[in-house]
Symmetry: C2
């Protein structure tokens, strides 16, 4: 087993260690939503604290019904029977890969855990670059030859993952690309796993979003959760929409043997959240606005520093390319280590996302800029001009200084104290 | 992938369905502790409801320290660094099997999920009968030849699981057997996984308990959790004591890619529970007493009906053998289906635990006899004579009638309406 601690979690723990030791570190490495729990959810969880039964493996009826309603309001008629809940969408994704079996087509770059999960499930990823300017989706033109070639080598390729909108690139695949992916998946008989955990945080108008479930409902599984839209990562709750009865039975079998069910009190609160009451809709609206505003501000600073980077379209990520800047870095890991060691800026190297290690691309997560206390995060959420809040302005200045420093770096300056984030020891 | 929905969870869902449809069913199938959450834990969870960060993969520091203290008070010096927390001990066990790799020696019978998890992890179980009269431990005399034979066939055998005290048999392995298992594990270079989730519910004196971690600390991983002792199954919290740094790193890698961390508010409450404050020690004492009293009452009824069954020594399980009773059942599944269909008594057939399908052994869980409401369960917990409570007495009468019915059954009577619990469809 060659899998090591999830790069994103490892980086977060390394940064926390440095901060704890008194270092000033700008954490742009971790994909936590960085916002407080809405009081109405705190109250619901508290009220459900006495719930201690395991409940059904698929999740409690109220949660499955509420999640079905969530999808119906997004144009996807959903039978609650087809909903499977899990302790996060991460275990659901792993369970799906295990239940489907076979090798998996992944976009390159893509979220750190897809490839690792594929390997833990005893299969191999087929990493296929995203179309130019897009993210979260393998280039349809490259998928067919790659799958046919792999199959000619005796490999069984059974599924394809898309991320809408994408982590790490912050981009949303074009509707035509999704239609093409659906067509190809049909032709190649692939199950599409559409990870839509950032869907409610798309900065673009709603009509720009197309799910493969809209186009190829018979072969698409959608996964989602409350970790990003409502900042409930630590609550561990995810949902999957699994129309195929056969796949659902297999997923439930896996779920029953690996995790049983999500925490019962969390399920109760999540059931409420998925009914989309007005105060939570408003909270998500505000969060989307804040994420977009700060991500665009970081984008502007990167562009100003001469970095090549596409504008963010959803979530709180950017995926800049530092090629052409001075420094002569050989790998994205080297660049990321330099930024952390010399400038106290934590980012994740592109190779953690399956990208070419020699490409100088890193993932920048902007969601931990909102502040280090619940009060500051709430203030950021409620501010008319979050960029004017002193702690956010200071963080953006810190980033500017790092970019200035990078632009004036000479090769000789960056030898000592390398930290390879991908080779970190276990959590501690 | 041949794994189906966990037999124990499937049976529970089938019984719930029948109860919902108005059938009178005595649920002796499900291993839920059947007791309410202690108010001090309700309060702790409610107070922690605002915690939404992912936190460290290994679990928050306070929880790891408290769990280390728990083991230290049981004679096992424990560095908090060696503690890994998970959303239940079930995912921790799966993660361990995946991280260790290779085939796994299991006692026969043993908890339904070990063999299924082994298969999901791409390996094969080696089922080895428990020594006569014991449970939860493979017969040491049979382990060596079985492992050597498997290895001579090219199989890699790397670990051995024990359950102390045992589910399904309710028995506690003798100290000499544990010493012998430790000796053999050393000789064969096997990692011992000691599932001690029922440890605090042993009915025997504390000095009768010996963990392989006491004897072979260098190669023993202990798993535990709060699902049974404090009836927190639905909260999903487990802990593992993993002395080997290498194995721990691998387990954390798996954890980071499959489940991230347990729910943060649950971790906070669990950290409190593992400090073992007086009110929770008292709660566990009372629970142990109730489990033992009711399990022994069921034991007495089974014996009276002519069933062969060992006395329970821990937890809330019995593993009776119906061989010799009338009926001419061909399999334990047939017997279990008959008990459910004809007598409204839900038990799990022995073959779900890896036992010989033709042996007429079933697992009887007694913990759902305490009542169907929180009030009744609390009353059972506080009663001087729980067997005298009308709802418990009525359930025991129900069992007596079923046993009488079984003793008067003629082969012809049991043809129709068979329900094979192991072949149930997915949850719904």
């Amino acid at each position: 087993m060659s899998v090591t601690l999830s790069a994103t979690l490892a980086a977060n723990e390394e940064i926390a260690r440095r901060q704890h030791a008194g270092e000033r570190v700008l954490n742009l490495a971790f994909g936590e939503a960085g916002l407080p729990v809405h009081p109405s959810l705190v109250e619901r969880l508290a009220r459900a604290a006495g719930r201690n039964g395991y409940g059904p493996v698929a999740g409690m009826a109220a949660l499955r019904e509420a999640a079905a309603g969530y999808w119906e309001r997004r144009g996807l008629p959903t039978d609650p029977e087809t909903v499977v809940c899990g302790p996060g969408s991460k275990p659901l994704l792993y369970g799906l890969l295990l239940a489907i079996g076979g090798d998996v087509v992944l976009p390159m770059p893509s979220w750190v855990s897809y490839a690792a999960q594929t390997e833990l499930a005893g299969a191999r990823p087929l990493l296929i670059p995203a179309p130019p300017g897009e993210g979260g989706v393998p280039d349809p033109e490259l998928v067919v030859p790659a799958v046919l070639h792999a199959r000619s080598q005796g490999r069984e390729v059974r599924s394809l993952v898309v991320t809408l909108p994408d982590n790490p690139s912050g981009r949303l695949a074009a509707k035509d690309t999704i239609k093409e992916i659906a067509r190809i998946a049909r032709a190649l008989d692939l199950t599409i796993i559409s990870d839509e955990i950032y869907r409610d945080l798309v900065h673009l108008p709603e009509e720009d979003f197309l799910s493969p479930a809209d186009v190829a409902p018979e072969r698409t599984v959608v996964t989602s959760g409350l970790s990003k839209s409502l900042a409930l990562g630590g609550w561990r709750i995810g949902v999957a929409r699994v129309p195929s009865a056969e796949l659902r039975a297999r997923l439930l079998a896996v779920a029953s043997e690996i995790w049983s069910s999500p925490a019962a009190p969390v399920q109760e609160a999540a059931a409420y959240a998925y009914t989309e009451p007005p105060e939570l809709v408003e909270r998500i609206d505000r969060s989307r606005l804040l994420h977009g505003t700060v991500a665009r501000a970081v984008h502007a600073r990167l562009v100003r520093a001469g970095v090549t980077v596409h504008a963010p379209q959803g979530g709180f990520y950017l995926y800049p390319d530092f090629t052409g800047l001075p420094g002569g870095f050989a790998t994205s890991a080297g660049l990321a280590a330099f930024l952390l060691d010399r400038h106290g800026v934590g980012v994740l190297p592109g190779d953690a996302f399956g990208d070419d290690p020699a490409a100088l691309r890193v993932r920048v997560a902007t969601s931990l800029l909102y502040g280090e206390t619940a009060e500051r995060r709430l203030a950021a959420l409620e501010a008319r001009d979050p960029l004017g809040l002193p702690w956010i302005a200071a963080s953006l200045d810190h980033l500017d200084q790092a970019l200035d420093g990078l632009n004036s770096v000479r090769p000789a300056a960056r030898a000592p104290r390398r930290t390879d984030l991908s080779a970190l020891p276990a959590a501690g």
